[in-house]
Amino acid sequence: MASEPDTSSPARSFQGLILTLQRYWAARGCVILQPYDMEVGAGTFHPATTLRALGPRPWRAAYVQPSRRPKDGRYGENPNRLQHYYQFQVILKPNPPDLQELYLGSLDAIGIDTGLHDIRFVEDDWESPTLGAWGLGWECWCDGMEVSQFTYFQQVAGFECAPVAGELTYGLERLAMYLQGVESIYDLNFNGLDGPDRVTYRDVFLQAEEEYSRHNFEVADTAMLFRQFRDAEGACRTYLAAGEPAEGGNDPRHRMAQPAYDQCIKASHVFNLLDARGVISVTERQSYILRVRDLAKACGAAWLKTEAGGLTWQEIEAPGLARNGAEAGGLAREKAA
């Protein structure tokens, strides 16, 4: 057994890269979550980022998130593009003062020697029109290749982040290709084994890429998708209304923020599918994005009226002191309480 290679080395296996990042960030106080169980376009959509970035409570989490970009499908023919891929997401609120060093430490942990490689922070302002979110930061380059995005969230769901959260997103496939020295995503060694036991990214995902590209571009039922978009939008509104604290009641909490937000995620993904099917015109496109953003904003407002969103026990128990949570910053409310 002693001679067995370390199959979990990031230079050897895709899953080794994930395991290493998880260990690294777990050691820095992050809760290691599992992927959100819904289709999303990026790790940012996970409520552990979008919602938890709002309000005053400290939060540290890391997780892998399968991300779907229906338009990026290439029927498995392009060695660099996929309609389904993995992001490794880290969110730290408030951002620690040494976040850049922590990030560089994670590169070191996965085997990127900063004495040999040229690491650069290149301006990249991040904006998500559908989430009503923006932040400033960089693309992180390793020898000219973008390996991560580094963002200081300034606003999410239309609300100022107070405090600011730092978000790191690692493009896992690209990073793994670099570490393993392969030219095609499909050549990535997934499990780190050799010979007949070796499982590649191709073995796991090629067929899915072919099938989903067909689905996304040719077959996805657009009538159903339009309906689903409307349904999700309606359900989101219904759930938000149902969760509103009772008028003049004693409990100021919103009670449906997360179920409502699920419908916002759903609407966003359905929109991406419709977009890939080419059935949304340029002018309509903007209005769909705005509709999703309105949902995100309403969900953010609801979240700020929950305990995890910053409501304190004093406020919950002494509602007379509670202010309207939507516009007041979380901390201001704590002070008022």
Binding site: D118, D143, M145, V164, L331
Partner: protein, 755 residues
Amino acid sequence: MPDLLLELLSEEIPARMQARAADDLRRLVTDALVAQGFLYEGAVAFATPRRLALHIAGLPPKGQDLREERKGPRVGAPEAALAGFLKSTGLTREQLTVQSDPKKGDSYVAVIERPGRPTPAVLAEIVPAVIRSFPWPKSMRWGAASAQPGSLRWVRPLQSILCVFDNDIETPQIVPFEVDGLASGDVTRGHRFMAPGAIRVRRFEDYVAALEAAYVVLDPARRRDMVAHDARDLAFAQGYEVVEDEGLLEEVAGLVEWPVVLMGSFDASFLAIPPEAIRATIRANQKCFVLRGPDGALANRFILTANIAAHDGGEAIVAGNERVVRARLSDAKFFWDGDLKVPLADRLEKLRSIVYHEKLGTQFERVERIAALARELAPALGADPDLAERAARLAKADLVTEMVGEFPELQGLMGRTYAAAQGEHASVAAAIEEHYKPVGPSDRVPTDPVSVAVALADKLDTLVEFWAIGETPTGSKDPYALRRAALGVIRLVLENGLRLSLHHAFSRARLGRPLPALDTAGQDPATAPAARLGSFASDLLSFFHDRLKVYLRDRGARHDLIDAVLGARTLSPGGRGQGEGDAPSPDGAEPPHPDPLPPGERERGAPGRSVELANDDLLTVVRRVEALSRLLETEDGRNLVAATKRAANILRIEEAKDGRTYDGAPDPAGFALAEERAFAGALDEASRTAADALAREDFEGAMRALAELRPAVDAFFEAVTVNDADPALRANRLTLLAGLRAATRAVADFAKIEG
């Protein structure tokens, strides 16, 4: 003399913001110092990706002492008045002096002495204020402090502040202050990876040297030179030449503190991709320079600038960059191969889904208009209408190719390349690229008639359409670059020597579609469509005239001569009948000309037409300006202008007095003097000759004919009293002067000529 050194160390500052930020830092700190009476010898600021630094040399150790004498209440004034005075001056009664005045008696005087404050104390107020209100184009909050409203904003998190004041005598001291919990100090850090340790700094000279030893080149100009120089050397050593790129050089210098230039290569088979696409790919995505071989063709090499001197000499860095370049070029190759398979003409349908402008429809509709207009314009430009229409139809098709989707700056160029590869006519392919030209005042103007037709159609359509929806430039706002489009038309016309009636072109551009809402608003719906188009076109034409003035002024033409020519009246002199001996004048109510340029029509424009519309042929306007300027080079010309202005002045006064004009033919029987008769004869002769010359568009000839009036005009003014007591004589003489005014106005409004 004492010096200040300030350094603001932060996380990576966007390259494009660095130069401006360094300049702002210098300006804001020195302005604040000067405002408080602190002069200095010199100030210089620097920026790297991680720091802004400011060095101010020759500051005084402290501010100037101030002494102020303030007069207070009289001795013996109420106690309250004295107490107030003491409070306002901050002195005690014992510190006041008494001043005697023989008239007003004794009063208290306060002598307030304010010793100059030590410079560091003043700096400790100025610097934090500058930091708090720094004008970053985009700034952010961060960390735990950002939970509070009003927390410090910076371009990226600010990590440390070094601020030392060196007064030459003692040990340099820290200028003490705190910004949002960040205390100033005398410590900085070196290169992020190669020398991350703390460095204590006392003064600027030490600072620059210490940074250099810690792998940081402070001066961006030096980093730029290092990159440019090393890149050239490295290329030259292997027989290549760097394709210079100032913008990229500037950016690269803002991405590294310690530039290390390395060369990489890619598979030669990628050279099948058009070189511009290779360059765009490598430049935009990798911030790398491309190289040329000895034959001038693009080489399969590139130059990258790393931020570290790696242990392995850069081998891993080059290998990594090559991988990325390879992947990018594979993408580009994929785009190129894929794009080639679809004929440009087959892409037009896709333009239906691209909105050009909310109120102006899709790109497809736009292309339809441009194609029709290009076809329309073609014959007069010597272009084959079929080719012009074809080129216009394909001109925007590359917007929906993969390559242009990825690199928008390749629009036009890719269209040309695809068209050529797909067997389109050479002029069509060229026009697809050239129809965007000229893009600015120094861009090349196309000369192939097909290119010219499409370029004109594209720009005229843009102008007319945006004019139609009221989106016209105002002040500094010109979001649709309409000024540039108009200048483009002007350069296309003038530099190709084209005769083009703009007015006609405007009306054809509308293609019979409904007239702009802009013009119909508030107008009687019964107003003739032609009249409405007339006012719309005249507004756009005067926009062209303004751009023409700017264009000609830039080329040294006198603006008053341009105004004079634009002010020319097409009315024939002395009521001698319009268009005598020429084609009959149009009635003026039907603006669209039957063909692009009916000969002589502009010169003899109908009375109803606005003056501007007569000047809708730019080439003619310019030729007139040239002729006028040559006329003014002669003594006869200058004298004629002076005499005409004199006549016009007299007329202005007398016509106002009499409440009538004196236009019309003088009565030959009413002449009392030989000079009058001679002048009338000369005027008649000159007017006729000038009119003939104008009809031939011989502006020089027209000017010459007028200049020959000079002796007769001079003699007239010498011998004749215009304002004679006899009203009939006076009226006849004023009519003669009006004849001179009208004759000259046929070529230019001399009253607008200065001097």
